[in-house]
Subunit: 195 residues, 4 copies
DNA sequence: CATGAATGAGAGTTCATTCAT
DNA sequence: TATGAATGAACTCTCATTCAT
């Protein structure tokens, strides 16, 4: 009968917003509490620690993303369509979980050492395999150029997608799908005019 | 008038390494001192504060980068060659100042509010004008496609270049020039095979 | 006018157990509530504060003990028989209120300063007079040796009795009476073999 | 050249005094710092934590005590003389480390569970063997009565000795040796007059 | 009677910084 | 130049307590 899970979710969204804006380490628990309209100590009724808030934010985001990627990969599309679907799914996740993505971008390098956040490295490996596998399939199918270093290309693509979280504003003029289309056009066809 | 500018430079390089690895806020002065083989208090003979170390690291890096960009823009190249030169210069700076670039990437969003770091926003504006101007020139000259959103394209290009600092390892297999070539090929021609 | 004095007693017994095991200061209200199968806040329906639980536990124990001592002293026994009766009564109280005795032992030194617990000092004085008076009577009656320092002897006897609360287990092999007998034999006759 | 070890010792003595007076849990780090004439945070230059202060106090005390007991046991005395020497050594330790002994008495029951303080149980076992072995030797040699429960007797003796720390005042009228003599007379010969 | 959520004071601890030596 | 010791503010977290439901 208690609407508790909602409250948790609200608080996590608030915390994510503050973490994204200031960085995890630079954010004080008091600031989160202020943003949530409560006292710092009160947060500890809902969460064990500041770290466990971060944990829950990242784990929730990564679970959702994994599900989307799995759905895309299970759809049996060709390499080019798979890349398009992965990019579009990614931009949609950025639109839905902008704060979580920004936190992920900023903190994941430092966090990966920490045992508690080992799942970050796991997820990253899984995602890497999805992208790399698709790029390889595309090269084999002659959809993608064979003369590019695949690992470098993967990194370029991955970074460009995710770093968008740092400037994307949901109230802006571009829908996730529009951004995905522009981005795909850039990366697939290049910006140079074809003669 | 302290007589050892070299020592300063060494200490700043050490501090930059630690900042890049752990994040500025998460780094303690003691950790920097440990890495430098001295005690925390001793750093204050060389620097006013932790913040002024950050300041000097970023300012030095941005000054250098500005000089390179100015040189490129002053060379009177065509739009495509200018883009190529800017990208190559950027990857060279990443190779030379990896830690500083990583810090810049991580901290610049939070820092821009802070008056002391107003020059970050200035620099960013200056760089934005360089990129945007060149892209516009390229579109006008029909070097670049006219159907792309120029601001989005700029963001894609800018982010992908700089985010490379997070994975670039100077001891790795790729020279900055090689990375620049691959990246330019990707972004100019696209990864799709042309029929 | 709360209608369940039994519940109060159960809760106090639970609290006493936890206080005895962990110390009063180191015990949290939540731990007591956990042990009682309720939430921390719910305890405040029954008690004003954590301190008032401690108060009630100690006062109840001391009231009972005072009654036993009074009964012994009113019985008009000789000094030796009085000592024997006091010791036996004490071990019986330890058996019945082990937790309260343990708390009393641990906390009474710190608590005596606190005005609310002034009755601890009163009781202790009363008990001291009972023991000292009996020892003096015994020395006068040549039941007890005259060459011992009576205050030191009192302290030795008192401490040995009460400190037993820290190791006494009601389910162990020794009844309170058996322990009292052994102890009295030790203190009255000594452990050395008589020639 | 730094007199640091002395400072540590002074601070530990101060902390021990406060712990003994108020109990470990009820003592705040600020109270210790006040007593030492410094700020709370400054204590952390010298110690890792409040707990590590407790640790060092207890370990130092137990190490010293163990050395004394070992010396006594190595002296090859008869059972009665060994008991006398152990008791005297104990009262001397109480006189020298009154606060540490008081803390040991109060906190050791709760602490024994804690892995960090496992050495408390070890030491206690070692001491128990020393006392029990000597009592057994004494019974075998007909120095001590055979009709007493040896474990009970051990507990009586042990507790009475150590609990003296709670009332012993070094500036009082009794030297440790005097107290030991009185106590030994009580426990060896008994307080009853011999016919 | 008990819960769930919050309060607010204060606890232990961290850390940038200072300064006499 | 560097050290050792201390400062003081702020931080994360705890906990007794309150109260509407």
């Amino acid at each position: 009968m208690s609407p508790a899970p909602e409250r948790r979710g609200e608080l996590l969204a608030t915390a994510a917003e503050v973490f994204a804006a200031q960085g995890y380490s630079a954010t004080t628990v008091r600031e989160i509490a202020d943003a949530a309209g409560m006292l710092a100590g009160s947060l500890y009724y809902h969460f064990d620690s500041k770290e466990s808030m971060l944990d829950e934010i990242l784990a929730t985001f990564l679970d959702g993303l994994r599900a989307r990627y799995d759905a895309v990969l299970a759809a049996g599309l060709g390499p080019r369509e798979t890349i398009e679907a992965l990019v579009t799914a990614s931009f949609r996740e950025i639109a839905r979980h902008r704060a979580a993505v920004a936190i992920y971008q900023q903190e994941s390098p430092h966090l990966r050492t920490h045992p508690r956040f080992g799942y970050l490295a796991d997820a990253q490996q899984k995602f890497a395999r999805a992208w790399l596998g698709t790029l390889e399939r595309g090269v084999a199918a002659k959809d993608f150029r064979a003369d590019l270093d695949i690992r470098l290309t993967y990194r370029f693509v991955r970074d460009t997608v995710w770093v968008a979280a740092s400037w994307y504003r949901p109230d802006g003029q571009h829908s996730p799908e529009e951004i995905a289309r522009q981005y795909l056009s850039t990366v697939l066809e290049g910006i140079a005019v074809r003669e």
